[in-house]
């Protein structure tokens, strides 16, 4: 890429006034953890649902020295991740990485990396529907009031319905949390497996919803508690088997269908984590089989 | 002898707005009193206003002027000018009423209709029910009817439920509007006995009885309502 290509765009695509506006929204969001700050979301060169909110947040905080990682469902190599990463390479000429540890900004769709994030890192979530109360209360005026007055009984109505129908809380993703004892927040459609990682995280967590024009945040070292009932406490998903490739336990696994005869395997959803483990000599049962075959 | 009910200078008329404001005088200058342990019977031809007078004493009809003084919980209340809340309190504790017809409530069993005034005064449910059953038993209401709502009962059966409900409490004043009208001789005798017991217990009774035989047995005094009729005075 040459400087001539860059000249067609402002750094990180958005103009400076827009970035300033978004940064103001981000600052307000950080000041009021879990509160949804409205912002003047711009049209981006990608369709809604492809991460326009996350991209705008990333564009507003990105500096020339940042190292960017983009994941989609934990993977660095899926369409959404690849295209957003390429976008910022093109419009900001920033360094990119797939390594969690090496990144200063990680934009994510629907996962939190397995590796513990550290101070100085920022995790940017792409959010489709920021309002956790939306499916129970369609009126925006009413949900805003409910947040303002801390009327969150309705959130438990949803969990009650889960238990009444399924015998347990069947919500497995976008599992509602309460931030710093005040605002109830939708953690975006991450699996509830990742909810505990948000609690007291050293990294700054920013959430951008482009179509709904909302930004919210969880600053570092903030209390994030998953809602539950006394007799049906919050639990994360567990997996019977370790990752088929790297043998990791206590990580979130994706199911991969191997053939049309019912063959399947479970592998790390976080591809970087899996590769790191494989590189340092960990092996799952499929990796053993493969090596044995070779 | 205490006099728990005093009616004085009471006048009442109906204004029929639907008939161009036609004014129908009912009674005027009503004055009488009822002592404790006494049964006063309102007399006079039908249509003279006996029933209306009874309803005024109960607070069911408003009066144009005058006083209806009732001794209620150690003080005297003028029912003619009392607010609804006071009237209800007086009815609950002091002033009972046996109307000619039972206003039935759907789905409430006869025994519960009878027990209700006791419950309203805070009597324990089991105790109230026992008392209600004893009353119904005494009035010879067939046991198989007790658990049924009285809406489908015959006139006489309904009236007995009504009497049981009116007599179950220890109200100091009891108003009776033809309580024996649709009863057979046996049950009339029961009611006469019950009235006698109330008198012995010091209750002041004011009633309308068309049955001369019953009237003769219960009345201590007859107040002729036609004396208060404005038409006569005019």
């Amino acid at each position: 890429m040459t400087t001539a290509d860059l000249a067609t765009y402002n750094f990180a695509y958005l103009d400076e006034q827009t970035k300033r506006m978004i940064r103001r929204a981000i600052l307000k969001a950080i000041a009021i953890p879990g509160y949804q700050v409205p912002f003047a979301s711009r049209e981006m060169p990608m369709p809604y649902g492809w991460g326009t909110g996350g991209v705008q947040v990333t564009a507003a905080i990105l500096g020339p020295k940042d190292v960017l990682k983009v994941i989609d469902q934990g993977a660095d190599d899926t369409t959404n991740a690849v295209s957003i990463r390429a976008f910022f390479q093109k419009v900001a000429n920033v360094a990119v990485t797939t390594k969690t540890r090496a990144a200063t900004i990680i934009q994510t769709r629907h996962r939190i990396p397995e590796e513990k994030l550290t101070s100085g890192q920022t995790l940017v979530y792409q959010v489709p529907i920021p309002e956790p109360l939306r499916f129970l209360e369609p009126r925006e005026t009413e949900t805003r009031k409910m947040h303002a007055l801390e009327e969150y009984g309705l959130m438990h109505v949803k969990l009650y319905e889960d238990i009444a129908r399924n015998g347990h809380i069947a919500t497995t993703y976008a599992y509602p949390v309460k931030v710093e004892g005040r605002y109830v927040m939708d953690p975006s459609p991450t699996p509830k497996f990742d909810n505990p990682k948000m609690h007291m995280s050293e990294a700054l967590q920013l959430f951008g919803a482009g179509r709904e024009k909302r930004i919210y945040a969880v600053p570092p070292y903030t209390e994030v508690v998953s809602l539950d009932f006394e007799d049906h406490p919050f639990e994360i998903q567990t997996f019977d088997k370790p990752c088929a490739l790297c043998g990791a336990q206590d990580v979130y696994l994706d199911e991969v269908v191997l053939d049309d005869r019912g063959g399947r395997m479970f592998v790390c959803s976080d591809t970087d984590h899996c590769e790191q483990r494989c590189a340092s000599g960990h092996r799952g049962h499929l990796a053993h089989d493969k090596e044995a075959a070779e | 002898m205490p006099t728990p009910l005093v009616v004085s200078e009471v006048a009442k008329s109906f204004t029929m707005h639907l008939r161009d404001g036609l004014r129908l005088p009912v009674v005027s200058n009503v004055a009488f009193s009822v002592k404790a342990g006494e049964c006063v019977v309102l007399g006079g031809p039908s249509g003279i206003g006996k029933s209306s007078l009874l309803k005024m004493v109960y607070g069911n009809y408003a009066v144009d002027s005058g006083q209806i003084l009732i001794e209620h919980e150690g003080r005297v209340v003028d029912l003619a000018g009392a607010d609804p809340r006071t009237i209800l309190a007086v009815r609950r504790a002091t002033l009972g009423y046996v109307s000619q017809f039972l206003r039935t409530v759907p789905r409430v069993a006869a025994v519960d209709v009878v027990a209700e005034p006791l419950l309203a005064r805070g009597v324990a449910p089991a105790e109230a029910r026992d008392a209600a059953e004893a009353m119904l038993d005494r009035l010879n209401l067939p046991r198989e009817l007790w658990q049924l709502p009285p809406a489908t009962f015959s006139g006489g059966e309904q009236q007995r439920v009504n009497i049981a409900r009116g007599f179950i409490t220890d109200h100091r004043i009891l108003l009776l509007d033809e309580p024996t009208a649709s009863l057979d001789a046996t049950n009339r005798a029961v009611v006469v006995a019950m009235i006698a017991e109330k008198k012995a217990a010091g209750v002041a009774l004011l009633g309308i009885f068309h049955d001369e035989d019953v009237r003769a047995k219960v009345a201590d005094r007859i107040v002729d309502v036609s004396a208060f009729s404005p038409r006569k005075a005019a």
Binding site: K145, G153, V157, Y160 | L18, P84, V105
Partner: protein, 258 residues
């Protein structure tokens, strides 16, 4: 009965532009008392109810409510948070159309349990048990607890709405034509149920209705409204049996005798 009114209403007026909703309405409501507000459509009775229940801001006048700690509070001077808290704990509001007062896409159990969860109840088993009890009290069979009100008949929906309102043991319940739109037989059952509940729980209630039979059965006291004004009020049986005003006489004489 205690010696202080639960609700003190003074000179409540509500104007819609130049048109009158209701004018100069004053009364006290005492604990355990049921007040019926009757009148034809457009007489201002629903406007009055909404002004009292803080669903509408009156143009002038004041409504004071005696809180559980005994202090009288002017509703208009309360914060919205306090008012809303009051509405979902100490008060109930029964809408004519149950769909306005229920969450139609949420099970019967959760509809009843919502208020409990709103005041911080966090034990699923307890919430469900309480909801089950209340369904029983309003005569909805226990096996319907996980059904949505969409699958219920009109009468059942209305009973569910009542259970949803009463689960937090409110002290004051507002009802807007609670039996409107129901079959006569269903009405009778609902009325009897309401009557029993009001009596057992010692509720105070303000019932707006155009049905004088509802007023007779449920209320101790009634107000007759016409053109936004209260034209007659008093003990329910007195107003119905000895109506004084021309309009009240017309209303009473218009009842069809069966």
């Amino acid at each position: 009965m205690t010696d202080a009114p639960l609700l003190k209403v003074r000179d409540i007026s509500k104007f819609y532009g130049a048109r009158i909703g209701c004018r100069n309405v004053s009364f006290d409501l005492w604990p355990g008392e049921v007040l019926a507000v009757v009148g034809e459509s457009g007489s201002g009775k629903t406007t009055l109810l909404n002004c009292l229940a803080t669903r509408l801001m009156p143009t002038s006048g004041s409504v004071e409510y005696r809180m559980r700690d005994g202090t009288m509070r002017d509703l208009a001077r309360m914060s919205e948070a306090e008012r809303r808290f009051l509405m979902r704990t100490d008060w109930g509001f029964v809408h004519q159309n149950p769909a306005d007062g229920l969450r139609m896409a949420v099970s019967a159990g959760a509809n009843v349990g919502e208020r409990l969860m709103a005041v911080g109840e966090r034990h699923y088993g307890n919430i469900r048990e309480t909801a089950g009890d209340w369904l029983g009290r309003v005569e909805i069979s226990a096996d319907r607890i996980d059904d949505q009100p969409r699958a219920f008949s009109g009468g059942m929906r209305q009973r569910l709405q009542i259970a949803r309102n009463l689960v937090t043991s409110p002290r004051l319940v507002f009802m807007d034509e609670p039996t409107g739109g129901l079959d006569v037989s269903v009405q009778a059952r609902l009325l009897d149920l309401l009557r029993g509940l009001v009596q057992d729980l010692g509720l105070s209630a303000i019932v707006v209705t155009h049905d004088l039979a509802v007023a007779r059965l449920l209320s101790h006291r009634m107000m007759v409204m016409k053109d936004g004004l209260v034209i007659e009020q008093g003990l329910t049986d007195r107003v119905l049996d000895d109506p004084r005003e021309a309009y009240t006489q017309l209303l009473v004489s218009s009842i069809l005798q069966v």
